[in-house]
């Protein structure tokens, strides 16, 4: 599934100015706990989260995130968006809840990240 398809399925908005929406995303993970997210060491993944502090971007330095979707209508501070742009990391925001977003993506064929 491409980032563009994810954007459309989640009725999301792009927050970053640089975004390669044709990038293929093989899997996803959803959590609001950083240690949970750090279980994703086996393959690069899309992240769905409600966390909007800069440590979320720092996570992408550690575990190779393919993009981040902020759920429940959350919009991170500008400094976080700039940190993502420096890393060419795509950020989306959606008004949908984490549960609903995950369900939509899973039903559309996006599998869980291996942990």
């Amino acid at each position: 599934m491409t980032l563009r398809e994810i954007l459309s399925l989640l009725e999301a908005e792009v927050l970053t100015s640089t975004a390669d929406l044709e990038k293929e995303v093989p899997c996803a993970f959803a959590s609001d706990l950083i240690s949970d997210i750090l279980m994703c060491t086996k393959e690069p993944t899309l992240l769905l989260t409600g966390l909007t502090n800069p440590q979320v971007i720092r996570l992408s330095d550690m575990i190779d995130l393919l993009g981040i979707v902020f759920v429940r209508g959350k919009v991170p501070p500008q400094e976080l968006i700039e940190m993502a742009e420096e890393r060419k990391l795509v950020l989306f925001t959606t008004k949908l809840t984490m549960y609903r977003s995950s369900g939509i993506l899973y039903n559309s064929g996006l599998r869980s990240c291996k942990i």
Partner: protein, 163 residues
């Protein structure tokens, strides 16, 4: 002084040899870790990962190294009075040592139990404090060694082999 060891049996001989000889590293990186500096915390681990990436280390091993190191860096940030991180890169392994300025861990065995945490509300709001920091370090490292004295400092050493 309380102590905790976990060694992957596969590397026991190599680890004994390393600890007995303490060879000189190819590259050494030093980082200060500020008290509750959640803006900069993680930079040290990211830098280690970048150096290792240039050496062509397998991406899965790189992520294990980064996660173990990052959890330790966050622990120093969230729970200590500040500390220091020294990363030593060798041609077959990375050795990272974290030393803080206290206050020490009162019960290491308890701290190793998944889900147990002493994190306060601020730390939890940021998404930390799941009580998985030390278990995650154990899971992703080949050697984990903690020495701590309650009321004094804590030292954590980790080693991860590239193959």
């Amino acid at each position: 002084m309380a102590e905790y060891w976990n060694i992957n049996p596969q590397y026991e001989t190599a680890v004994k040899h390393f600890l007995a000889n303490k060879p000189e590293a190819e590259v050494t990186l030093e980082f200060e870790i500020g008290v509750r500096d959640f803006v900069n915390s993680g930079k040290g681990s990211a830098e280690v990962k970048n150096v290792l990436k240039r050496l062509g280390i397998d991406p899965t091993i790189l992520r294990r190294i980064a996660v173990a190191s990052y959890e330790a860096e966050i622990n120093v940030t969230a729970h200590s009075n500040g500390g220091h991180m020294t990363s030593c890169v060798y041609d077959d392994l990375v050795y990272i040592r974290f030393v803080d300025k206290g206050p020490g861990i009162s019960d290491i065995e308890q701290a190793m139990v998944p889900g147990w945490s002493t994190a306060d509300d601020l730390v939890r709001e940021m998404g930390f404090g799941a009580g998985l920091g030390l278990p995650n370090i154990k899971k992703n490292s080949d050697v984990m060694h903690i020495t701590s004295e309650y009321g004094d400092s804590t030292a954590l050493e980790i080693m991860i082999f590239y193959a």
